[in-house]
């Protein structure tokens, strides 16, 4: 997944403790501040309880102790102290919310749509349509609008941004940004049915120049394949029911049910994170998607070995 970022440190494991954007850093800071408060409260109360348990143990033959039924002053004091703590935490929370989640932009840079079980990313300003791998330029906050094609989903990149639900019929917005180039893992965190576990996505942060390059390459239609196998693959793709769900720019395929495949071969992962995107894994997928990702919406088309070879050859040309 996040191979280039693995360091054997706390930050490598606990993603929330490794914020890589101003929005995530604000939440992390609030987390530290409140953890300190919670730790002090826990230590004091738990300490008092443990101390009392050790200090005031009953010993054989001892009579019942003095019967103290309460003390109003103490009660009022320890009602007031939590009040003050709550007010402080509320203020800290309100401050953080405005940093981590500023008001939405009038026109979003990105439209992210949750599907069972993959993510579609559209760049309305350029027209790029991507799936599961979302490229962003470093150092620029991108405004994302969320929608869902079916049920609820939830977009969570712990290192970069707040969680937000993709709700059908209820557009939501967040800002996403990354300090440094890198690949950041995201997951769907709202249960959305059978394959909720495999609804990963990657945020790929690049320098503005590389991002622009990526964006323009994504706008190119698929080139006609050169090899014979690949050409047979294209013909097969256009003749079978592949085209009733998928789109490849420059062919007859224009459906928006499944992921856009125009630049399929440039993606790192297959099946929303379940396997790496290699020709071998693609072969397994085409043989029977249900074996790789049980419950996925793509059925087993019972392709012959020869047909699979042709299709793989074609898809590998879709850089």
């Amino acid at each position: 997944m996040d191979q280039d970022h693995i360091r054997l440190s706390v930050a490598a494991v606990l993603q929330v403790f490794d914020p890589q954007s101003p929005q995530a850093r604000a939440m992390f800071r609030l987390g530290l501040e409140s953890s300190v408060i919670f730790a002090i409260i826990f230590a004091m109360v738990a300490g008092a309880v443990v101390y009392a348990l050790m200090r005031y143990r009953w010993h054989e033959g001892e009579p019942d102790p003095r019967q103290v039924a309460g003390n109003t002053t103490i009660e009022i004091v320890w009602t007031a102290i939590p009040c003050a703590i709550v007010v402080a935490l509320f203020a800290l929370t309100a401050r953080t919310m405005s940093v981590s989640d500023p008001p939405a932009a009038p026109a979003p840079d990105l439209l992210v749509i949750g599907h069972q079980w993959w993510w579609e990313a559209r760049y309305p300003k350029s027209g790029v349509v991507a799936a599961n791998e979302i490229h962003i330029p470093v150092g620029r906050a991108m405004s994302i609008e969320f929608d869902s094609a079916d049920v609820l989903h939830e977009f969570w990149v712990p290192r970069l941004a707040r969680k937000i639900a993709a709700v059908p019929g209820h557009p939501n917005h967040i800002w996403i940004e990354a300090d440094a180039p890198g690949t950041y893992l995201g997951v769907c965190s709202e249960f959305c049915g059978t394959e909720h576990a495999w609804m990963h996505f990657l945020i790929i942060a690049e320098t503005p120049a590389k991002f622009a390059e990526w964006e323009s390459s994504q706008l190119l239609p698929a080139s006609k394949p050169a090899g014979l196998e690949a050409r047979k693959g294209l013909a097969l793709f256009e003749q079978t029911s592949c085209v009733s769900c998928h789109a490849v720019n420059g062919t007859v395929a224009g459906a928006r049910v499944g992921p856009d495949l125009t630049h399929f071969a440039s993606r790192r992962e297959l099946g929303a994170g379940i396997v790496e995107n290699t020709p071998d894994n693609l072969r397994r997928w085409l043989k029977d998607p249900q074996q790789v990702k049980p419950g996925a919406k793509m059925p087993d088309f019972k392709f012959s070995g020869e047909q699979i070879g042709q299709l793989v050859a074609y898809f590998e040309t879709l850089k």
Partner: protein
């Protein structure tokens, strides 16, 4: 079978000399103690089922990329685990304890309504069977215990599992409301003389407050379930965004029930801690009034915090901040409780017997759960931690760390009272330490899994740094807990057979349940000690230093309300909550007029006339009551008949209105107006029908000689209900018919 009968005989639970077969005695029982034990046993059975599901979850997650369970199997397992543990374990266990202990603590002979009590109990196994029958009916539900729409709607969950789930929860919800009405009526009408509300032991006090919370929260769930079922079975679309419905509305309604539900199972646990900790510290609770009052505050606040479950849904910062504030406020009364329990320990003479061990562990674990709870109430932290294993860890610290530990404490504490025998302390301590080690091993690490980015409800996970070993630790912990549970069951069985005799009061406790034999005889008490404080048995044992008297007079003049009217009043509270949801839903779905039939299609004048009939019927039934009070039974019957006729005219009018709408092409599965309109007025109509049936029964009974000699209080109770049905209609009429004309 005969061996089991012998065991029960030896354990004192059945008497072979009585002619009735022992199974019949248990099935037909109306004794609150037996019903309490039935509740607890049912909870134990489902605890084993839910526990096996928990182990399946942990086995599946023990290693990355596991394929032990298919994804849909896993989804069913965690859905059933959550539903079972909340509705079939926690609720029945707490109702069982309340059933057994509360009447004893207040010095009552039984619950106010023993038949209703038995009925409410039997709904639990029935609901449980209905839920589990889904396995045979083509697929158990796999949508999570809060069944978020639209995943729970037919297009995405076409099998019957969700229907069985919703029906089972409706059945269980009705049972819970029934029990709560009963508990309220019991506390208000069955207390021993001089047991004023201010002298109530804290466990009973908290059950009493909690019952009101059940009355207000469960009907909200029932309304949500009814709407979901109308969507699924009748083709409506309350929660289907693709046809104009709202996915967010389901969340609002569900959590308006769901968050109070957390407190519904937590407040009895608070009650247990407030009962056990003082007894084993040998001191009264520190600040009874604050502990009791903070319960009321928690119950009230818990109704206002639901949207903290929805911080990621996108309700906007203003709404979020309101719920941040209200949710954090709950920390204050909760903190007061934690500090009160802690302060009770200070200066005590603490005995760490098993009940106390469980309760002190519950106290410390709940302290942590409360603090992580505050972090989840902070929207900005929730944006990271929500729906992750941090949240899973948090609520298991509440449900297991507090509630299961408190229930185990309570069972060790009250088992001697229920069975007459002590549980083995040696096995009890082993259970405690295994459970505590297992529980903390399972769930402490899950906080960190959440911070590592692991979302909840995933059937498997990639081998990301740290995830595998943390999950493995958690799984091993779960098996330690299972071992502890087995040990506990072993202890129950062996102690029931061979445990040491407990005597009346093995813990030298102070509340009335310890003032009778163990187990108590039918009717509970031979005689009661004087009640002038909150600890009658302390006063009895320490005449030299009794507790200060509570209240100004020892012999309290208490007005005891009539129990049938009390029950109907409580029922009306729950019905109001139900109709409030339907009315709010109607307003929500009609905020923007749509094409087709709408409020403009309704005939204001005609329905206005029929409404007048219904209002008149409130007057006629009042006249009927007055006639009865004056002893004029003939006039009473005539006024009652007039009420029936007026109610019938109203229903006919509704029928005519429906007919016109159907001719206009309206139908329940048409537009949102029609869906909301027919649901709201239809349920009101059903209530009118129920009222008419009740009135007809009273009218029929009124002809009997028995009634003529001693008129029962039934008429007053039914009249109260009838006024309520009329009042609901006034609100419905104003909202549905009148309001559009003001725009």
């Amino acid at each position: 079978m005969s061996e089991l009968a012998a065991i029960l005989t030896r354990a004192g639970l059945s008497n072979p000399e009585q002619r009735e077969h022992w199974t019949m005695k248990w099935i037909s029982t109306m004794d609150h103690k037996r019903i309490g034990i039935l509740y607890l046993s049912t909870a134990l059975v489902f605890f084993v089922i839910g526990g096996i599901e928990a182990l399946l979850i942990r086995l599946q997650l023990a290693v990355p990329n596991n394929r032990l369970l298919q994804p849909d199997e896993y989804n069913v397992v965690f859905t059933m685990h959550g539903t079972t543990m909340i509705f079939l374990v926690a609720m029945p266990a707490l109702f069982g304890l309340a059933n057994y202990i509360l009447p004893l603590q207040i010095g009552a002979r039984d619950m106010a309504f023993p038949r209703l009590n038995a009925f409410s109990f039997w709904l639990v196994p029935f609901g449980g069977l209905l839920l589990h029958f889904s396995f045979l009916a083509g697929g158990a539900p796999g949508v999570g215990w809060f069944a978020y729409a639209p995943l729970s709607e037919t297009p995405y969950s076409s099998q019957l599992g969700v229907d069985y789930w919703a029906l089972a929860l409706l059945v269980l919800g009705i049972g819970s409301v029934g029990t709560s009405i009963n508990l309220i009526a019991t506390v208000l009408t069955q207390r021993a003389p001089n047991m004023t509300l201010r002298r109530l032991p804290l466990f009973s006090w908290m059950i009493f407050v909690n019952s009101f919370l059940v009355l207000m929260a469960l009907p909200v769930l029932n309304a949500a379930l009814v709407m979901l079922l109308i969507d699924r079975l009748l083709g409506a679309h309350f929660f289907l965004p693709s046809s104009g419905g709202s996915a967010i509305m389901w969340q609002h309604i569900f959590w308006a029930f769901g968050h109070p539900e957390v407190y519904i199972v937590a407040i009895p646990a608070f009650g247990i801690l407030s009962e056990v900790i003082p007894v084993f510290a040998r001191k009264p609770i520190f600040g009874y009034e604050f502990v009791a009052g903070s319960t009321v505050a928690i119950a009230f606040l818990s109704l206002l915090v639901w949207a903290h479950h929805m911080f990621t849904v996108g309700l906007g910062h203003t709404v979020d901040l309101f719920f941040v504030a209200s949710s954090m406020l709950i920390a204050i009364p909760t903190g007061v409780k934690v500090l009160a329990w802690s302060a009770t320990l200070v200066g005590g003479r603490i005995r760490l017997d098993t009940p106390m061990l469980f309760c002190t562990a519950a106290l410390l674990q709940f302290l942590l759960a409360g603090l992580t709870g505050v972090s989840l109430a902070s929207a900005a932290l929730d944006w990271q931690t929500k729906n992750s294993y941090y949240l899973v860890a948090h609520f298991h610290f509440v449900f297991v760390g507090l509630i299961v530990f408190a229930i185990l404490g309570a069972l060790h504490y009250w088992f001697p009272k229920m069975s007459g025998r002590l549980l083995s302390e040696r096995l009890g301590k082993w259970t405690f330490w295994l459970m505590t080690a297992g529980f903390n091993m399972t769930f402490v690490i899950q906080h960190f899994l959440g911070l590592a980015g692991m979302p909840r409800r995933i059937f498997t996970y990639a081998d990301l740094p740290g995830w595998a070993w943390m999950n493995m630790v958690s799984t091993i912990g779960a098996f330690l807990m299972a071992a502890a549970a087995l040990l506990f069951v072993w202890n129950l069985v062996t102690s029931l057979l061979n445990g040491e005799r407990a005597g009346d009061n093995p813990w030298r406790a102070w509340t009335l349940e310890w003032a009778t034999t163990s187990p108590p005889p039918p009717g509970n008490f031979r005689s009661l000690p004087p009640i002038r404080s909150r600890r009658p048995l302390w006063d009895d044992a320490n005449p030299d230093r009794p507790d200060p008297m509570v209240g100004t007079k020892w012999r309290a003049e208490v007005h005891v309300p009539e129990k049938n009217e009390t029950a109907v009043a409580a029922f009306i509270v729950s019905e109001s909550a139900f109709f409030a949801v339907l009315i709010l839903a109607y307003l929500f779905y009609n905020a923007v007029p749509e094409a087709g039939v709408g409020a403009h299609s309704l005939n204001l004048a005609k329905t206005g006339a029929f409404t007048l009939c219904l209002l008149l019927s409130s007057i006629t039934i009042w006249r009927s009551e007055v006639s009865l009070d004056r002893g004029n039974q003939r006039a009473m019957r005539l006024w009652l008949a007039a009420t029936l006729v007026l109610g019938g005219i109203f229903l006919t009018g509704q029928g005519l209105e429906y007919g016109t709408l159907f001719e206009d092409g309206a139908s329940l599965n048409g537009n949102l107006f029609a869906t909301a309109f027919f649901t709201l007025t239809g349920f009101h109509g059903l209530h009118v029908c129920a009222g008419l049936i009740a009135l007809a029964i009273v009218l029929g009974l009124a002809r009997s000689a028995d009634f003529k000699r001693h008129p029962p209080p039934a008429l007053k109770a039914v009249a109260l209900y009838w006024h309520f049905v009329d009042a609901v209609w006034v609100v419905v009429f104003s909202t549905v018919y009148f309001l559009p004309h003001l725009r």
